[in-house]
């Protein structure tokens, strides 16, 4: 059962769920959570390729980088959301459409 395609299938399901969350959720925090899912799907992909593909250690190193990046991203994104809340008194991103037209 331990085949590459299984890992890739799981990671793509995870990616799709993350994407679905990013696209459909109205809550800013939920959108961020979607983004986390996508990043983790990517991590799973790196690790799968490290194990079964030819990436070896570099895949695991990339995964570590991605985790660090995800942490930084979460910090920055949460700061943005707090600022959005301060300015608009909501974190519903559909109401934050100042760029329209």
């Amino acid at each position: 059962m331990e085949t590459l395609s299984n890992y890739l299938l799981i990671s793509s399901i995870l990616f799709s769920l993350g994407l679905f969350g990013v696209v459909t959720r109205r809550n800013g925090v939920a959108v961020l959570m979607g983004v986390e899912l996508i990043l983790n799907a990517a991590n799973l992909n790196f690790l799968a390729f490290a194990r079964f593909g030819g990436m070896n250690m570099s895949g695991q190193v990339y995964a570590l980088f991605v985790i660090v990046l995800a942490a930084a991203e979460a910090a920055v994104a949460l700061a943005i959301i707090i600022n959005i809340f301060n300015n608009f008194n909501t974190i519903n991103i559909d109401d934050v459409s100042e760029l329209k037209q």
Partner: protein
Amino acid sequence: MITGNFITDASLLILFLPLLAFLINIFFGKRLPRQGDWVSVGAILITLVLSLSLFIGMLSGWNYKFSHEVYFSWIDLGAFKIDLGFWVDNITIVMLLVVSLISSMTHIFSLEYMKGDIRYNRYYAYLGLFTFSMNGIVLANNLMSLYIFWELVGVSSYLLIGHWFEKHSAADASKKAFLTNRVGDIGFFIGIMIIFTAIGSFNFQQLFDGVSNELISGSLLTLAGLGLFMGAVGKSSQFPLHIWLPDAMEGPTPVSALMHAATMVAAGVYLTVRLFPLFTVEALTIIAYVGGFTAIFAATIAITQNDIKKVLAYSTVSQLGYMILAVGVGNYVAGFFHLLTHAMFKACLFYGSGSVIHAMHHSLHEMHDHDTDPQDMRNMGGFKTKMPITSSTMTIATLAIAGVPLFSGFLSKDAILAGTLSYVQHHPEHWILALFGFGAAAITAFYMFRLIFMTFYGEPRMPKVFDGIHESPKVMTYPLVTLASLSFFIFYTLPYFNPFKDYGWFTKLIKASNSAVPGNPTAKEIHDGVHHAHDAAMMLSLLVAALGIGLSFLMYYKKSLSAETWARRTGFLYNLSLNKYYFDENYNRFLYQPFLRLSRAVAYIDWDLYDKYFINGFGYVAKILSKITGRLDFEGLDQTLVDGIGRSAHGAGKNLKTMQTGKLQNYMLFALIGVIIILVIQVT
């Protein structure tokens, strides 16, 4: 000074100084002190001094063969070449003196006569223009520049006759003068072109050489000569183009004296004198008949005229006819001599009449009488006591024109009559020319003394006007005295004293040259004939002059013959003469009216048919076409294509802007859809 040769320099100055005066006066005259008359007078006096010095040079040179020619190339196209220049010989010098003398007298006389005129500066400017053009004619060495100046003289005549153009009669007279001259000038131009085509030059000397080498001969040369003569007929007011000169008296009187008595009208005679070697025997015969007929014809009209200037005008026509007659019979030097003497006494007569009119005008003005004609001799009479200088100078000039011995007119008229008599002796079939000549002499004496008796003698016909008559001021009497004294014979016979013969500096220095046409009588033959006929002609001319004067004396001084009775007795002839042989009326009926009708018909074709239907039709079609193309352009191209591009961009923008929702997730969705599409394309 300019070219280093005195004669050339003097000619240049004589020619261009009056032009300079004209330019200064026409542009700045109004702003100059005294309206710039001193510029013109100064220029003309310098011209007079230069002419006099040329004249004195001629006398001291005493060379009848003197000739001086300078020219420069004006147009040079290889085969077609025109040189402009001066030809100064004794005839030129005498003529220059006449022009500048009479012109300066006119300038001085006008200082008083034209005082207070509304276009005073323009009057002086035009006098300058005239003097320039007349000197141009005199100095020309070729037909081309002569023709140019010929037309310029016509223009200045037009401008000066119409000086008081507010008067309809003056405006009409100036038009009449110009148009009548045009008729002659067409012939003149045709003559020039015939000659130029045959000989290939305009230069007088080359023309004479060409004719003597028979480059042109026979009837073509006769035709060319008659064409050139037509110019003279127009300018010198010969029959049948004489009609303009009497009307030209509408101009100011000093102008009449300068242009329409002494110089401009003499230009025609000068032309025939200059071109005498070109005329064939046939052409000369016609010239003689035209001149002779004009002489007697105009004289018969002058008898019955009552306007003092009209009498003098017809007298001028008649005297010009005399000069032309002299050219026609071959004795052209006599014609030129008469031009010279006539210029002096006729100018004097015109100034005299101007002085009388001036006095009449002022007298009538003081009485506030604006209906009485100041030029009508029937309103004058007895002016001798009031105007002694005018009266005596005019009497002297009249004695000269009547051909009384001791006066200049006797010498020149005698020379012409001798030439005519000699011609008739050689060609008895032309006997009528002698009748014309002597008849005109008798009539001239008669009507000129009629003028003197009616104006200066007898009882004043209008005593009230008579009381207001005064002698004219000195600027007007000085020219009179000068010209009257120049009417004595002595000025023309020096250094000899012979009151009965024209033997003197003139005949010594101005000799007839042989005709260039082979077969024409030589100058010597003509001279011998004239010499032979001289005594008989002198006796006859004395006789006819005495007859004319005597008859006039009886009729208008002693009144022993009643003029009225004679007028009634010769009713038909009297009316013919009084109405100038109905020339104006007949020209009107048989020339102008048919011509006007033709013009109206042509105008109808041009305006009512051609213009209205053809030209306007074009316009109509173009209008419709432009409407169609306008619609195509506006609705088809502009509204649809050009605006369409803009409109589609506008619409696309309107539709596409809805995609910019501002919702992050929408954008992301689009990106996702894009990625999916790319993936699908990549895989398939």
